[in-house]
């Protein structure tokens, strides 16, 4: 008497997520994207229907977006906002990187900076904007200074943990083989700090453009944030959402083009 084992795929202990072959994978990727968009639109339509007329439907928003793109109104403000985002991004990344590297490598600097960073992180963003405006007056510069100050602690924190998580074993190796400072920097440290730089860029990008919108809402008369607030006040919700959507898409595309590539090249 024997029970032959029937042909069945082997089950491993932890089910490995199914990996579709490449071609089918690409198709399914697109399908997933479309599904997400359709579901999102349907959900939005539902909210719009249940609200008492204040939340515009998908059609209205789309029409508004087409109009904004068509008569070119969007581009000027988007460019202004983008310039601000890039300025803040650059300033915050540089400052955060310098502070983070210093604190990551020196526990003295770390001890000194820690309470300042923690306090900095705890202060709400609008407060920075308000305080800097009180001190420097309303101007383009004061907004950018405020945002830089608001973002630096976030960036510095990410850099510090990244530096402190570096492989101490490699430090020891470098010490035993008496690597010169230059070689240490080039061969041991650079490889380990690069992820910190990417992390710093990602963090400051993610926050800088969201805060630029806030800052423009509160203090500026131009830029996407200002347009969003203006549409809000003049009760044009479709315009408001269209502005926000277009800018979100722009930022996501930029992120994908720039940051993803950067990350890939440093990981490889």
């Amino acid at each position: 008497m024997s029970a032959a084992v029937t042909e069945r795929p082997a089950v491993s202990a932890e089910p490995v997520p199914e990996r579709p072959v490449r071609f089918r994978g690409a198709a399914r990727n697109i399908l997933a994207g479309i599904t997400a968009a359709v579901l999102g639109a349907a959900l939005w339509e539902l909210i719009s229907l249940t609200s008492d007329g204040w939340v515009p439907g998908v059609g209205e928003i789309a029409a508004s977006a087409v109009e904004l793109l068509g008569d070119g109104e969007f581009y000027g403000d988007a460019w202004i906002s983008l310039r601000r985002v890039l300025t803040v991004l650059l300033a915050a990344t540089l400052a955060g990187l310098v502070l983070g590297l210093l604190a990551g490598f020196s526990s003295k600097v770390d001890s000194f900076l820690r309470p300042i960073l923690v306090t900095g992180l705890a202060i709400p963003d609008p407060v920075y904007i308000i305080l800097v405006i009180l001190i420097l007056g309303i101007s383009e510069t004061s907004g950018i200074v405020a945002l830089t100050i608001a973002i630096v602690p976030l960036v510095a924190n990410v850099v510090i943990s990244s530096v402190q998580a570096r492989d101490r074993g490699l430090d020891e190796m470098a010490a035993t083989y008496r690597l010169s400072h230059v070689d240490y920097l080039r061969h041991v440290l650079a490889g380990q700090v690069r992820p910190a730089i990417v992390a710093a860029l990602r963090t400051s990008f993610a926050f800088s453009w969201k805060l630029v919108v806030l800052m423009e809402t509160m203090t500026q008369s131009d830029g996407v944030g200002a347009r969003i607030y203006e549409s809000f006040r003049f009760l044009r919700p479709a315009d408001m959402i269209a502005y926000a959507l277009l800018f979100i898409v722009l930022m996501r595309v930029l992120e994908m083009l720039a940051l993803r590539r950067l990350e890939r090249s440093t990981v490889a």
């Binding site: 939340v55 705890a122 407060v127 996501r252």
Partner: protein, 262 residues
């Protein structure tokens, strides 16, 4: 987790405690010095002395504690909501390939929505109802939670899972003893980051939406140009955040993760 994958505590040489404290105090001191300079250089920033003299009276008023209580409740409630939503999203992203892709597009989109936009939208949907504050904070925080937890689920240790299979540890025991402890460090990291984040968003949301809470008080004081009050609110805010971090979150984390050996 095996020995190799348990993040070891930093083995770095530490400064003597006294020195560290001295340096930290110097750090706090430098904030105060900056404030003092700012206070004397411009007439808008209230001087330290004035703020401190008004502090006792400010803290004695019931209104302040009411506003702080209301806002704290909102933070905790919406953070819980964000954690639940984030965990669910992470589970979907982990479980199913197709719906995981769909979910991660949603999360990627949600992470890109500026809180200002979310707050203004909530005004349209919920009017001035405080539900809007919950919605805004939960919506802004949940994608971050989802990202962190997905990372945790991705790093679940296959070897420990195999052990669980061999000893047939299943159901709730599996969850309690095998899965959740591995997710706990990620959960804490999510809570810690998003708690601070939630506070900042709540203030922003109340600024736009609210008719109560600290953010609204903030905005009102600023509108009336009572800058001393603005700074007092700021002090209360920072104090709450720091106290809860050091008195609640860190001790809790140390307790739950005490198995990690120094």
């Amino acid at each position: 987790m095996t020995a190799a994958t348990v993040p070891a505590r930093s083995t770095r040489r530490r400064l003597p405690d006294a020195n560290r404290w001295a340096l930290s105090l110097a750090g706090i001191g430098s904030i105060l010095v900056l404030w003092a300079i700012g206070g004397s250089a411009t007439r808008y920033v209230p001087p330290i002395g004035e703020v401190l003299s008004e502090l006792p009276g400010f803290l004695a008023s019931a209104e302040v504690w009411d506003a702080a209580g209301v806002t704290t409740l909102r933070v905790i409630g919406s953070l819980l909501l964000a954690m639940v939503l984030g965990a669910a999203a992470a589970a979907v992203m982990r479980r199913d390939w197709f719906w995981g892709r769909v979910m991660s597009s949603f999360v990627g989109f949600a992470i890109a929505v500026p809180s200002t936009v979310a707050a203004l939208l909530a005004l349209y949907v919920f009017r001035r109802d405080p539900i809007g504050v919950y919605a805004v904070v939960a919506f802004i925080c949940f994608p971050f939670v989802a990202t962190v937890l997905r990372e945790g689920m991705r790093n679940l240790d296959v070897k420990v899972g195999e052990m669980g299979d061999a000893y047939r540890i299943t159901g709730t025991a599996r969850l309690r003893h095998v899965v959740l402890p591995q997710l706990a460090p990620y959960g804490f990291s999510a809570v810690r980051n998003e708690y601070a984040h939630a506070w900042k968003i709540v203030v922003l949301a109340e600024l736009f939406i609210g008719s109560s809470g600290m953010g609204w008080q903030f905005a009102r004081a600023f509108d009336r140009f009572q800058l001393t009050e603005v700074v007092l609110w700021l002090l209360v805010f920072v104090a709450i955040l720091l106290l809860s971090e050091y008195l609640v979150i860190r001790p809790l984390e140390r307790f739950v993760l005490k198995w990690r050996v120094s």
